[in-house]
């Protein structure tokens, strides 16, 4: 397959960079843009794109890391089930996320049974071979939620219970856009989530917030092309929606996957760690799937677990994950970054996951342009 190489082609990339340079050289003010995907930040950092951005272009990462926005009480709920002897299956990047009381990794070190899987189909296989209940901690955004939906629709074994903590990203984009002192002038939407939802989903966002949105893919050329389109629209003052990832994203998205999603889940309000209570930001299992809903089956255990968890410490931690995920600060603005807070000893969730802004910056030696040039 030659496609990934073509989408990393240096000459094509330079041409797009030159276009960005030209657009921003003719623009007196700085422009701040927000993307909402850890994979976008990984590509920007790994391919050194930020170092070549024009000085008056700032590209920030928003709430695009599913691990980072999973609320601490959700982690505590899963830890509570693990500590009561239940067998827990989770995606690997959830293991080390701190709850109020413990992480799943710490619970495992104390003897709890916590196993890592990479697909919900494995949860089905494990449950089918198990004589006892198994709990799948179902986290992530649209792309993982549809996979959870697919296994629940395919007559899973009765031993499979789902502790659902899936999130709906468009709702959090709304919260970021409403944030009163936001300087963001345009949004780069995540191409893989839009593969499911379709780009048409963002039409109402563009209308309501009067800001352009460009759906972009994850290779260096995808991101540069997406930024060119976005900057053109910001400069022209056009609140428009563009699709820069047409090889995967259509207007209506993947209808088969969306049908599965809405048969299994419904939107509710939910807490996004470090950000806010997000109206319609949580995907909750519908009552038809009560037989597999860990929240119902283990309600008593979860209630007990909640009593054990300490109350949230108000403002004690100087961790800036919340402001970073709102696109207001970059990781290097945080006093803890790279000092008290490192991948091997994370303070905030953004340093835990390979999709978190702080972890990506730490591992790639990423800096803001101003820091690079001084």
């Amino acid at each position: 397959m030659t496609a990934p190489i073509e989408f990393r082609d240096v000459a094509r990339g330079r041409a797009l960079q030159a276009q960005l340079d030209q657009l921003l050289a003719a623009h007196a003010r700085p422009i701040t843009l927000l993307h909402v995907c850890g994979s976008h930040e990984q590509a920007i950092a790994r391919y050194g794109l930020r170092a070549r951005f024009p000085a008056n272009l700032r590209v920030q990462m928003g709430p695009g890391c599913p691990v980072c926005v999973t609320d601490a009480p959700e982690i505590d709920a899963c830890v509570a089930l693990a500590e009561r002897g239940l067998r827990i299956l989770t995606y690997g990047d959830m293991l080390r996320v701190p709850g109020q009381r413990s992480s799943l990794a710490a619970a495992r070190a104390r003897g709890a049974r916590v196993e890592v899987i990479y697909s919900p189909t494995q949860a089905v296989e494990i449950a089918r071979a198990s004589a006892e209940p198994v709990v799948f901690f179902a986290t992530g955004f649209e792309t993982t939620a549809v996979a959870t939906a697919a296994v629940l629709l395919a007559e899973p074994p009765p031993q499979l219970y789902v502790l659902a903590a899936h999130k709906w990203v468009p709702a959090a984009m709304d919260v970021v856009a409403r944030s009163p002192d936001s300087e963001i002038e345009g949004y780069l939407a995540a191409g893989h989530a839009a593969t499911i939802t379709g780009y048409g989903l963002f039409e109402s966002f563009v209308r309501e917030h009067d800001k352009p949105v460009v759906v972009a893919g994850f290779e260096p050329l995808d991101i540069l092309a997406g930024l060119v389109l976005l900057v053109e629209r910001v400069i022209a003052g056009q609140a428009e929606l563009c699709n820069a990832f047409p090889r995967c994203v259509s207007r209506d998205g993947n209808r088969r996957a969306l049908a599965a999603l809405w048969r299994v889940f419904a939107l509710e309000d939910g807490e996004w760690r470090g950000i806010a209570r997000v109206p319609g930001g949580e995907l909750r299992l519908r009552p038809e799937f009560a037989a597999h809903d860990a929240r119902l089956r283990f309600a008593a255990e979860l209630q007990e677990g909640r009593r054990e968890a300490p109350a949230a410490s108000a403002g004690a931690a100087p961790c800036r994950c919340g402001s970073i995920m709102l696109g207001k600060l970059t990781p290097s603005d945080c006093a803890l970054f790279g000092r008290e807070c490192r991948p091997e000893a994370p303070v905030g969730a953004c340093m835990v996951s390979t999709e978190g802004a702080c972890r990506i910056w730490y591992e790639n030696g990423e800096r803001r342009l101003q820091e690079l040039r001084t």
């Binding site: 990047d93 893989h192 593969t195 990832f245 996957a257």
Partner: protein, 85 residues
């Protein structure tokens, strides 16, 4: 967990496909990892040789070869180049 990976189908059996993922930066065909991938969510018929986008063990999109060429031509047009034939 949210990592999407494009890969190429090497075998199809019922609602499961064997997909080969090309190695990251090198992108060498044949050198990739092979995994079983569920086809319950993909919204088009897929065949051996097709490229698909995979998330957590599920194919979520067939990537048509003509769409790849179209995207590259579109990107070229953004930087003022003549679209490649």
């Amino acid at each position: 967990m949210c990592l999407g990976m494009p890969g190429q189908i090497v075998a199809v059996e019922g609602s499961t496909a064997l997909v080969e993922f090309t190695a990251g930066a090198a992108g060498t065909p044949g050198g990739g990892v092979r995994r079983k991938v569920a086809l319950e969510l993909v919204d088009e018929d897929v065949r051996v040789g097709d490229h698909v986008l995979v998330h957590v063990g599920f194919a979520i999109r067939r990537i048509a070869a003509e769409d790849l060429a179209e995207t590259l031509a579109f990107f070229a047009s953004l930087s003022g180049e003549e679209p490649a034939a």
